[in-house]
Symmetry: D3
Subunit: 317 residues, 6 copies
């Protein structure tokens, strides 16, 4: 069967994503939704079936560029999930509405999320962070804007020490920062009111995929009675996990862990450098999204609402 005709802008957007001209989870998602809207607006399809076929084909083209990034399929799922109507006009309108709504929400998502997360923080609270997450920083930023005094214990987050970025951004907000090595976390947990982290992906079983070290921190936080709060926009939800798929953990370059010269001195060893780990929902108290906060066990409901049931791929021919 012939592929339906695609609007050139779809192909440009796809190319820009593929060549990483377009980068960043939110930027990619926005571009993808916008491309679908263009395809809908400019479509010359004459039958609803043809129109649907075009939109799905556009989605597949976009998806093929970066099959593992989660924000890209989420943008596509969101729009296709809402494509509905008996006529081409109705279908077109529904795609335009969905695309526009997705982009609007995306645009203010971090701001909304920050406000919600900030509401969980009280004046005088002390927060422990792991790695660097703009969503997590947004929560603290909004709390500061609400006039709350917040201080932070920042874990350096080996191997890449993204804690330094967090520290700098919090300093720019005027937040007092105490920097510690990752191993010193348990010792400080008793003096801390919240553990606050971001997420790379959230799975349908409620588990949180985030920077290596998150799960060990969460286990210790539970043992010390400190609540754990995950700040993650809904584009981090991972609909594939609804069908049981597990999130692949990227293994990063070994040289991040040990310099070649130090390694040579030690002798022949294996170095493992997993980028992420998985925190089960029972060690997380709340997931803060721009749509509100949720216990991790109920995020699947939000995931189904936003992105469909997930047992069928909406772009399948």
């Amino acid at each position: 069967m012939d592929e339906p005709p695609l609007h050139p802008r779809v192909e440009t957007v796809a190319e820009d994503i593929e060549t990483m001209e377009t980068r960043g989870a939110a930027t990619i998602a926005d571009a993808a939704a916008s491309a679908l809207v263009t395809q809908a607006a400019e479509s010359r399809a004459e039958t609803p079936a043809a129109f649907r076929g075009e939109i799905r084909a556009a989605a597949r083209t976009l998806l093929d560029t970066r099959p593992t990034a989660v924000s890209l399929p989420n943008a596509l799922r969101y729009v296709l999930q809402r494509m509905d109507g008996e006529s081409v006009a109705a279908l077109r309108a529904s795609v335009e509405r969905a695309g526009s709504s997705f982009r609007d929400q995306l645009d203010r998502a971090q701001d909304d999320l920050g406000e919600i997360g900030a509401n969980r923080l009280r004046d005088g609270d002390r927060v422990m962070t792991h790695c660097h997450s703009t969503d997590a920083v947004a929560c603290i930023e909004h709390a500061v804007q609400q006039g709350k005094a917040i201080s932070a214990v920042v874990k350096e987050t080996r191997p890449r020490k993204q804690g330094h970025i967090t520290a700098r951004e919090l300093r720019e907000l005027g937040v007092p920062v105490t920097l510690i090595v990752d191993s010193a976390a348990r010792r400080s947990l008793g003096d801390v009111d919240h553990v606050l982290v971001g997420a790379d992906a959230i799975a349908a079983d409620g588990s949180v995929v985030n920077k290596i070290g998150t799960s060990g921190l969460a286990v210790n936080a539970r043992e010390r009675g400190t609540p754990v709060m995950v700040a993650a926009q809904t584009i981090k939800l991972h609909p594939d996990t609804m069908t049981g798929h597990t999130v692949d953990i990227e293994m990063r370059d070994e040289s991040e862990v040990i310099a070649p010269e130090d390694r040579a001195e030690i002798g022949e060893i294996t170095v493992e450098n997993p980028a992420f780990d998985v925190t089960p929902p029972r060690h997380v108290d709340a997931i803060v999204t721009e749509r509100g906060q949720f216990p991790p066990e109920s995020v699947v409901t939000l995931m189904r609402e936003l992105f469909g049931e997930g047992t069928r791929e909406p772009w399948a021919e």
Copy 2:
């Protein structure tokens, strides 16, 4: 009251300890016990009271050199605890016997401990280590000598990365080593049969003072069902804790955590660099000493047996 006359060797030993000419927990303990034996052998005391006074004074002199090292008072306690007799001759003999017995045991302690620890390991076991401990390495070494195939997951142990030393020593024993950052520990715990660490001090309430990060690791090990084994010679027992004293946690230089130039870039922050943390006994499965293995909750019994009840300082005038 006049201080009793001390043998010059006591003063030499004291000076060598003070100037750090004599270094290392075991070496210091050995020198101190040996100095007491010399004092006893060469004493010119004519009454039991005078003899006792001399030995106590020698102990005080030695103790004053390094009041915080735990092996030093342990050597003194061990010998003074066993000073007994109705005559100078009997007292002298008891001190010589105790000093000699202490030094003999010290001499073979790591070997005995290694053998005992090795017995807990089975052929094919995989061990996770934190920091570097010669006692812990001795357990693996003996297991290898027993013909067991042992492999190791070595945590790098920020900030000073003593894990590199452990890795090198294990490689020299032919043990396959996988190096990870500290944050990656929980992810590997499911594939590991034992967590094996050393100790800086063991307290009367059964808690283990060891390199920062040990307690967080132990909490995660318990949560994953992995047993935790602490290898520590009895000179690491901390008799002061019998009277409720807590072990001071050394705060080390901040530059170990972050280079001054990186710090300058971030802005004004606090850096905390605690050297140790405290693992409660409920997260430890066994403490392996040269005297046998013990549940952490029963180590106080061994402490009392070796070093006395602890509610009185044996060197008090």
Copy 3:
């Protein structure tokens, strides 16, 4: 901008709520819903926008009377959430329908809830209560009506001893009652089949705000293997918490805790008398509402269904 014209009944209802002429969570909610229905029925608005504006203004007026009571905004949210239509007539009908449905459900909520809660209890069960909750008592009452023999261990619930009220109501139902001080709860938990409490508010993260002492009881119940059941009508759900807001804990008068003369005798002390505490969802087995029972982690879904997403206030201009 001018405020839209409000029906006098809205103002009367508002005044009655403000002066506490109208009292009690359910009574207030009922009055508020009824006032919105009146406003809708009698509205002279000529455009959908004007009509919507009037209803929102009425809601704001009502809300201003008691900004902290949760049942009041819930009634308003429920109705406004369902205001829908392209014409004034359609909008009016939708408000009337929603108001009527809300009031009908409210009217039979405790009865429905009691039936559902009673179904969890088996013949011969022994129940432990804390404080006094008409929803919790309704569960026992229905169980008794179902012909089940139920007995109760009633915690007195210092400082105000509302346990005495519970005891009296249960006696009136013929339920055998054992009264204990709050501290005796753990000792009895092994002989008890359920802990059954009410709630002052239920948060979006699944935590239960209830009379001080509930959370400590729930932790002990979990440790003893006794299930914890919370009986709470849906007007106790707290939609503000969807946006991360925490529930303020009222601090009550110190004289409830200690008589002034006893206090004078002791000397200068601080007295803290928090009215409520927060039980995390992991210590609660089921929340029983008139809409069915829910694990605490999924109550947010019900909250969104009944009261909207919560990230926007439906009465905002």
Copy 4:
């Protein structure tokens, strides 16, 4: 009031279910849905009310045959829940659509579920099973079809040793099987990547009713850090539990536990042979259905979506 006229096929189907001519959860559900469709298709009702009355009466007739089987009321609930329309024609169409959709989904449910469950398993994983569940076996079967090497530890599952059936079916799939007695489970849990069981029913509070021994296994799995996965089609969801009803645990014949001659030798004893037990949601990691996987705490949402709120019986007159 007269009962509405029922189509003869409804009565035939009812009879076949009653006489156990029609057996098996899925077969019964399919027959019941099909009977409702026939009733709708052939109805001679002239008013919507009459039509609704007929369908409800047909449902009651079917329900009366086996009031305790959960798949039967689920089929009826699913269809009646979707009966909607202002005219007889619209109502008829809605019943036909719902019946057809229910049967289609049922037809491919185990296959879909198996695919989803298989996605949770990784190449090389070792799975522990309890009892025999075709849903659980389907997960392993699909994993094998995905090319993954899976091995299994099969608990024999006293008293009826359904583990032998599981073992045989897994052998037919080429899966290496290790058979153990039930008591040996904890010893193997450290070497196992998943516990995988089926379910007889899933309750609204997230608890899982399954073969006796499941809950004890799940508690041990949690303690050893091994995730627990329950495979259950949505016809196993138990809507009655939404209204607090508990699932009756069948007590089976004592001779399954002990042969009469052995019993005679022991003397007068009681024998208890419960068929099932109840696993609380906190000991289960995921429930895998044909609609996707869910944390047990969120299954109630799916239950409400498929079968209605549950506080009203849809077949009530």
Copy 5:
């Protein structure tokens, strides 16, 4: 067989204990030890056997006065356990030595204990107390004397509100006090560094018998990560429990729980007023005695050392 002749002072002491002229755990223990010493000093026994018989008879006479107080048999056990020698003179000396040593230790026990307990407290610590215990207050008093700033959260301890006594004594020491009802404990546990309680008895299995409410507090403290410290002189150790005996829990007068007039208003209810409960060792971090601190699991060793193996009663004929 004739009872051996007892010294009149033994009988006077016995009578004074029986008539409660002599009261208080320590005072009784002191009197009993002193009576044994008198009996030994004044004995006219001519054979070792006769002497032993006399001392045992004296012990039995003393014991009969208050069979349930634990300090009385402990005094007797301590002395009889140390009665040793081949001649009457040697036996007499051993009893005198043991009696004198027991009394000396008793005399300074609370002081020693206070010092040890104080060492566990750091400057700035906040302590939560339950009931009133002079041993617990002694720990805080010594900490204050050591120059540490200590503050306290004092639970009122229904039904008898001994927390008021604790509050007053702490105020006299200058310690800032916050008084709360018992149910408010969990809410404050996050801000508290230690839970500090006394004990009525300590059992050989490591469990702590103390004022009702202690066990529930300890469970919550563990859940919040707050360490629990029990201050108890060794006369609170309960040697009978070495042979499995359980400690009877006194049920106190019901009017302590509810005033008769309030009760009459409620109707016919049962009131349970247990004086104590039992905290298992896993919820206690340290037991502080005058002999040092111990994990609860190792107290049995101290019990055997002080009071003998316990499987034989030393006063048995």
Copy 6:
């Protein structure tokens, strides 16, 4: 070097143990102790060294017969541990004394243990048993003799169903018995006051080696709040574990698990039939021995007291 001359009775005893003429842990231990006494009594050694050599040689001969039974080396350790003196006469007397004391204690051990265990049980208690242990039954027997009403839930204990033996013996004592399959244990744990099991060996780290299924039962008992009590005479203590040795778990015949014909039908499978498993001390509340009850964490102290430090084998040349 020549082996010292052994008394013929030593060789007879050794042979009887080797040929299993002498069987049963207690009988073997008794025979071994008795043989050492004979060797001592009849020794013609003229020097202390020769005498010691003879006794050690006798011990080695006895030990060689059954190197894995734990009661045999315990008898030898007990006696050799107490061999002490400067002359042959003194040494002989010490061996005779130790041998006699060991045998006396052994003779009444089960009775003493039963009494102690019975003291932990209250009138009306319900006890759950696993496997068959004469020590555990002795506890119930003594409780019955104390006039307490005790009932029992007896797990059948696959694969060999020793629960049937327990059931029969308890019936003979008049104890009401409920028999269940092993998997039904968790369901009954809420109605049970104690789990009571025996032990095959107790290790120095406090873990309990007992019939397969014990550890899983103990984990569930802890989760349900039911205390676990282990009844084990001190000959079950395993001194080798003081030096880290682990207890080998016997793998028994596969035909105990599945009949060959059933197995043939299934196809090629592995069958694992471990006889024992290991319960960590944190899941056990008390170990009841004839010397008193102990928390599992303190049993090592008793082990050292009875059998020596264990780091040296007392029979080593």
